[in-house]
């Protein structure tokens, strides 16, 4: 309930009035049934901006996947991250050890959740997509029926860059790509995902510079 109100009364007005977001191909977002969304990570606002793209009635089913070692360190932040933002925690330090780390993620997917991933691992350079980690491929390998939709954000790094605590209003652009399916091979899948993400990034560059005539 608190979470529902938080998104309705805080996040949606913040993203739509203070920032203002322009989405291309919103219809490509899968709102119900298990799915993965993959986005570039420039600021803490990314997750909230992405969440705000979903219809209010789907919010209960959508969860950002976030680092346990960052968000679960103190009691208030932990309560806020788990109950209000609704993150699924993942432990970056144990990432090498395999299956166990993804337990909560896989369980959520089996409950038909839509999960948001930032596979760069940490907030990268503004308006750029760093190299994506392979974790995402491991998940899709285990749940091959789950589609993966890439989303590229442009402008959020300007609004709330790493290290700043007050956000400055800017219009932001979001580009939703076509959902991808697991093809049976890790390298191929990551290559496909990277290519789609670069295509979105290129689209963002072009949209930012549509020369007249």
């Amino acid at each position: 309930m608190l979470r529902y109100l938080f998104y309705l009364l805080v996040v949606k007005p913040l993203v739509s009035i203070v920032l203002g977001i322009n989405v291309r191909h919103r219809e490509r977002l899968i709102t119900h049934g298990s799915a993965l969304i993959v986005a570039n990570h420039n600021s803490h606002l990314d997750a909230l901006a992405l969440m705000s793209l979903f219809p209010q009635n789907a919010i209960a089913n959508v969860h950002p996947v976030a680092a346990a070692d960052y968000f679960l360190t103190n009691r208030f932040l932990k309560w806020f991250a788990l109950n209000i933002i609704g993150i699924i925690p993942i432990n970056r330090n144990e990432a090498a050890s395999g299956r166990d780390v993804l337990k909560l993620v896989l369980a959520a997917l089996d409950r038909n959740a839509v999960l948001i991933f930032f596979p760069e691992g940490t907030r990268g350079e503004p308006e750029n997509m760093g190299r994506m980690k392979n974790g995402i491929a491991s998940i899709v390998a285990m749940r091959p029926q789950v589609p993966v939709t890439p989303v590229f954000f442009y402008g959020l790094g300007k609004s709330l860059p790493k290290g700043e605590i007050v956000l400055a209003p800017f219009f932001i652009d979001a580009f939703v790509g076509k959902p991808l399916l697991w093809g049976g091979n890790k390298q191929d899948f990551m290559a496909k995902l990277n290519a789609e993400m670069s295509a979105l990034q290129e689209q963002a560059r072009q949209a930012a510079a549509r020369t007249e005539d």
Partner: protein, 313 residues
Amino acid sequence: MNWQHFPNSVNIALMTMLGLLALASTVSLALVKLKPQKDYCELRQRVRTWWWIVSVFAVALLFNRTISVWVFGIVSFLAFKEYLSLIPTRRADHRVLLWAYLAIPVQYYWVWQNWYGMFIIFIPVYMLLILPMRMVLIGETQGFLRAIGTLHWGLMITVFSLSHMAYLLVLPEAKNPVGGVAGLLIYLVFLTEINDVSQYIWGKTFGKRKIIPKVSLGKTVAGFIGGVLTTVCLAALVAPSLTPLSLYEAIAAGALIGLAGFIGDVTISALKRDLGVKDSGSILPGHGGILDRLDSLTYTAPLFFHFVYYLHY
């Protein structure tokens, strides 16, 4: 003052605007029906957005001063945000941008207070001095001049200039018995928009020679002259029912709005050309960004305001 009860002439002006919009809607619908092979999507979108713009403008006028000032403040905020989203900004200036944003509520507070002296110097003097000071405190000198120049110019255009529209609403009502509180603002906005539209139509119909090809390919000599003449005629015609202007003053006001509207339009065009974008944003479907729509008003609002202020207030 009584905001709810406008003089009859203002009611007629508002009705005329609704009538013109209804006409535009009818024509665009008829075009879709008559020439189904052509794509009128953008025209339909444009007209639909005009309904939104006029509705917001009506809300700004119909209630009271507080609501008016809020609406114009939000319009300035959107325009300034659009401007900052377009221009390159320095990472180091994050805090400075917040200070610049803060100037918006403060500027509109002077308007609401009807404190003319502060309204007129706050951004041109105080913000001109405060913003570079804040930048210097951060200490990044690389690109300093460009950063402060672009930031302050944006604030002047989107906040200082546009806030003159709101200030027209707080001028003493007694000086303008025929137009009441809203007469001058309706006159300004109506003529500026008609000037835009008629320069476009004259240009499309008779235009050949480009007037300023380096900045805008769409602007022609015929469009400019036809537009200004149309605006002058309408200005003289409407002035007695909305403003305290005499006939000669109204002709001068019409010429001023026609000329300044053109310059405002091409100034924003030059900005977009420099940045390599076609539209300043996408908040108004069919029109582009909010600056694409307000471009002419950034020039006509302060110039018309001071013209009237000097003559009658």
